[in-house]
């Protein structure tokens, strides 16, 4: 066992764990942080995507011990004081989820896309989520949601 401290959504979380514990389980065993979903376990499905120092990563394929000293952000960090993040608003507006299992990973993946590229083309959005599987196959609405959020953020910036 080893003591690990990881910054998750700005809060320091410390726990005695085995070095083999995966980040996804470290996060989900923290009270209030079950929003990150644990899916395929094989880095294929993207349900477990969180951001590590601002970059989307698959938390089923990173050891929790490797994250000490890094900033982890999960889906719970998107909403601030009751205000949804524009990417969450986009998913709501365009009905971009059916069962919702892939949603946390999709949100964290596409939030990172918009942070890097505020005006992505449809192809760029599809490439960004190519490592995330929606088994309800609702990709069309997910792409629309990202575009909605991009347009919304552009309109805010212009003060429209």
């Amino acid at each position: 066992m080893t003591n690990v401290s990881i910054s998750i959504n700005g809060d320091k979380v410390s726990r005695e764990i085995e070095p083999r514990q995966l980040l996804v389980h470290f996060i989900r065993e923290t009270p209030g942080l079950t929003g990150t979903h644990w899916g395929c376990d094989t880095s294929n499905c993207g349900a477990c995507v969180v951001q590590m120092d601002g970059e989307p990563v698959k938390s089923c394929t990173i050891l929790a011990v490797m994250c000490e000293g890094h900033e982890i952000r999960t889906v719970e960090s998107l909403e601030v004081d009751g205000q949804l993040d524009p990417i969450q608003m986009g998913f709501h507006e365009t009905h971009a989820l059916q069962c919702g299992f892939c949603t946390p990973g999709m949100l964290m993946t596409t939030r990172a896309l918009l942070d890097e590229n505020p005006d992505p083309t449809e192809q760029e959005i599809r490439t960004a989520i190519s490592g995330a599987i929606c088994r309800c196959t609702g990709y069309k609405n997910i792409v629309s949601a990202v575009r909605w959020a991009a347009d919304y953020e552009a309109s805010i910036k212009q003060g429209v």
Binding site: P19, R20, D41, T42, T61, L63, G131, A132
Partner: protein, 292 residues
């Protein structure tokens, strides 16, 4: 739940420290970088290291820079940085060809060139890419450094020239005039391993092929170096017929096995077609470079 078996974890703070730990712990210790090949193998108990040495803090191993007549790539350089590097794209565009189709963007944020090469999965793209451009790798141990050409790097399936107590630290791409390169891959779906892939580089001199490098992924137990096809091309003027012949050699000299990705004859066919395509595109790029 898939979880690796127990191991001891250690975070390296220097290259020397990582090598010292590897020396001390012996063959049961493994280096972990991105971990996107090693952790899945550990979950499946295909790898069972007793110690993991985490080198992710060794920022000095993450760089892409031109030095003299070489491009130097640090072992910890991640796929996303190889994809975005304009320097690499200008001199060895096959890297971007390959990186666009290696796994998915989220995985590419973690995986590294050193990890990919050391994993030495025959279906992995960067081994063929580095072989085609005739890269050399720097392997450091307690006794110092040695430089090994890609032709001597693959010892067997998942086995490389990197020995116990050693760390791959750098990949060196030689820069030569008149060069062009390309990587061609066919996969079942976005982000999958290749059914077959071909990497090619050509160096033109006075309208003839002075030298060529060709390597195949996913159609043998290791990365296949097509030395017989390279020999065929040397001294010849590039042409459709010549590259078709190189493709025939690729089909003959690979040794694919039948699996869920396809039967043997299909993979041989692909190896030939992709070799020809990669050579055509590499040559077009060499001519374009020359003209601009």
């Amino acid at each position: 739940m898939q979880t690796p078996a127990s191991f001891e974890y250690e975070r390296a703070t220097s290259v020397e420290g990582a090598i010292a730990s590897l020396q001390r712990l012996g063959p049961e210790a493994r280096v972990i970088a991105g971990g996107h090949s090693l952790l899945p193998m550990m979950k499946l108990r295909l790898a069972n290291p007793e110690h993991l040495i985490d080198i992710n803090d060794l920022a000095e191993l993450s760089y892409i820079r031109e030095e003299g007549d070489q491009i130097l790539i640090g072992a910890l350089t991640r796929h996303v940085d190889l994809l975005k590097s304009e320097l690499l794209f200008r001199h060895a565009p096959l890297f971007r060809d390959a990186e666009n189709v290696i796994a998915d963007p989220v995985v590419r944020n973690r995986g590294t060139i050193g990890g990919s090469l050391c994993q030495a999965d025959a279906a992995e793209d960067l081994s063929a890419v580095c072989s085609a451009v005739k890269a050399k790798v720097v392997i450091r141990g307690a006794g110092g450094e040695r430089v090994v050409g890609m032709e001597d790097f693959h010892v067997g399936p998942y086995v490389t020239a990197v020995g116990d107590g050693e760390l791959l630290t750098e990949v060196r791409i030689p820069l030569r005039r008149g060069g062009g390169s390309a990587h061609e891959k066919v996969e079942r779906r976005a982000g999958d391993w290749a059914i077959a892939a071909a990497s090619a580089a050509v160096w033109l001199e006075g309208g003839r092929i002075a030298d060529a490098g060709i390597a195949l992924s996913a159609v043998g137990l290791t990365t296949i170096h097509l030395s017989r096809a390279e020999e065929l091309l040397r001294g010849e003027a590039p042409s459709d017929e010549l590259f078709a012949k190189a493709g025939e050699i690729a089909s003959a000299d690979c040794s694919p096995s039948q699996d869920g990705r396809g039967p043997i004859d299909y993979k041989r066919h692909l190896a030939g077609v992709l070799t020809k395509r990669a050579l055509l595109r590499a040559t077009a790029r060499a001519l374009y470079q020359e003209a601009s």
